[in-house]
């Protein structure tokens, strides 16, 4: 195992519809959770990366404010964004800051406070993540964009609404066991199938909910990692890729090319393949997204993602456990806070701290985090000693 850069701490706040806190306070809770037990003086943090999507908060340039509130100043800090995948972009850039020799300890804090926007303005803000000159004028939305992929996947491969519903049934099962999840109710197949249509073919329970939340990941060089923890989790590989933002330019509407490219880079760097992954967190902003992820990450053949959930292979006792913390669908999706929460779950799985949903003998874990409608993709592979 390459032992260059390790995760030494992970944390998150409760994900909730209305946190009642200011952004700086929310970030503090996530960092405090991540730093727990580490005996890390804030002055030992060499740099911080603050990740979110900037449209939800009136505070301009929050990096300095969060860095100050967490006691990191005067060390460097900056803000970084790839919408919903901002958190893992922060982890990737944090890796490079350490591997390049610039820094030894880097903290990534991702957050979003979405509760102060009403849902229609939120839909407008999200729609502006599409090309505002040529696509937003037609009223494209985040669910609508994923629905275009869902419809194409159903037409091409016979993927069914029931298979999509089964994704949510699984994720709500694990969400009900996650004390930090926003949506804790367990859902059965019938409720998912009978829910209102948001945009064909996606129904209410096919969609994740926006919420408030923050997460933090503490990264360290090998030497420092061993000083602070006896359970370092190593970054084995990181891959990132982009798809064209424009609908006109996308070669495929039945998979995310960005995810395939990112996965290829990450597997190559880590020297492993999909068959070596013991547990994965994937970006299930919609149920269809988890099915696409199965295929794009190589857990299932193209077109056969639906079968994987039919076989219950992605439950924690299955062949390739996925989103056994509730996923975005049940945890909730605080844009900038999401990636760090995915990393947290994988790190906790590799440290064997996951109680009822612990995957047995988990040695290698994968995080896949997507920004926009497959626009950005990060795949990061983690391993333990």
């Amino acid at each position: 195992m390459k032992e260059d850069v390790a995760v030494i701490g992970v944390g998150q706040t409760n994900f909730t519809r209305d946190c009642g806190m200011s952004v700086r306070e929310l970030c503090f809770e996530a960092y405090k959770d991540a730093a727990q037990g580490l005996n890390l003086d804030p002055k030992d943090v060499d740099a911080s990366i603050i990740a979110s999507a900037p449209e939800y908060d009136k505070q301009r340039t929050p990096a300095a404010l969060v860095s100050e509130y967490l006691g990191f100043s005067p060390s460097p800090t900056f803000y970084l964004e790839t919408v919903c995948s901002s958190g893992t972009t922060g982890v990737r850039v944090g890796y490079s800051l350490i591997k390049s020799g610039l820094h030894d300890i880097v903290v990534m804090v991702g957050f979003q406070k979405m509760s102060e926007l009403d849902s229609r303005i939120a839909a407008q803000v999200m729609g502006r993540g599409d090309d505002t000159m040529f696509s937003s004028p037609f009223g494209t939305t985040m669910p609508g964009g994923h629905a275009l992929y869902a419809q194409a996947h159903m037409d091409a491969f016979g993927t069914s609404e029931e298979q999509m519903a089964k994704i949510r049934v699984k994720n709500s099962f694990y969400g009900s066991q996650n004390p930090k999840a926003n949506y804790k109710k367990r859902l059965d197949l019938e409720s998912c199938m009978n829910a209102d249509l948001v945009c064909t073919p996606l129904k209410k329970f096919d969609c994740c909910a926006n919420c408030d939340g923050a997460s933090a990941v503490i990264l360290a060089s090998a030497d420092k990692a061993r000083k602070y923890t006896d359970k370092p989790i190593w970054i084995m590989g990181t891959g990132m890729a982009t798809s064209e933002l424009n609908w006109s330019s996308r070669a495929s509407l039945t998979n995310f090319d960005s995810v395939r490219n990112a996965a290829k880079s990450a597997y190559e760097m880590a020297g492993v393949g999909p068959e070596d992954i013991n547990v994965a967190e994937v970006h299930d902003c919609f149920t269809i997204s988890e099915i696409l992820a199965y295929e794009d990450l190589g857990f299932a053949k193209t077109g056969e993602g639906g079968k994987l959930i039919d076989e219950e292979a992605t439950y924690h006792t299955g062949r390739i456990p996925v989103n056994v913390d509730g996923g975005l669908l049940s945890k909730g999706h605080p844009i900038g806070g999401t990636g760090g929460s995915q990393v947290r779950t994988i790190v906790q799985q590799l440290r064997e701290e996951c109680g009822d949903s612990q995957v047995k003998d988990a040695k290698i874990g994968l995080v896949q985090n997507v920004g926009g409608v497959g626009t950005y993709a990060n795949v990061i592979i983690f391993g333990r000693d």
Partner: protein
Amino acid sequence: MDFGNFGVVNFTKQAKSVAFVDYLAEGKLMGTVCKKCGKKYFPPRMDCAQCLDSEVEWFEINSKGKLITHSTVNFGPSGFEEVQPYTLGIVEFPEGVRVLAKISKKIDPATIKAGMELRPVPQKLNEERLTYEFEV
């Protein structure tokens, strides 16, 4: 005309490619092609990423194309309260480009299917605003 005249809601005003909106006003949906390397672009652009050149010609998209995928949106962004639900589709045209637009309400949603033939129809939303949608 500027980009503020295009679509139900638009957040852009200035662009070198503003002729796109002027053409729409004349009833034409247009893309661009790079004079140097021949690469076709939709949405239109005045600059070619391949040659870093900015000499382009306009071409019209007015054939029938094939619907690739579609979705009926029941909850739209602010500004779309009055028009929802609406159906979005992506159509591939023989001109070699794909286009996203609304599918006309004249078409019964139950009959909308991948592979169906559709053509782009520029239209006025009101005195100031222009768009295009797909009809049979």
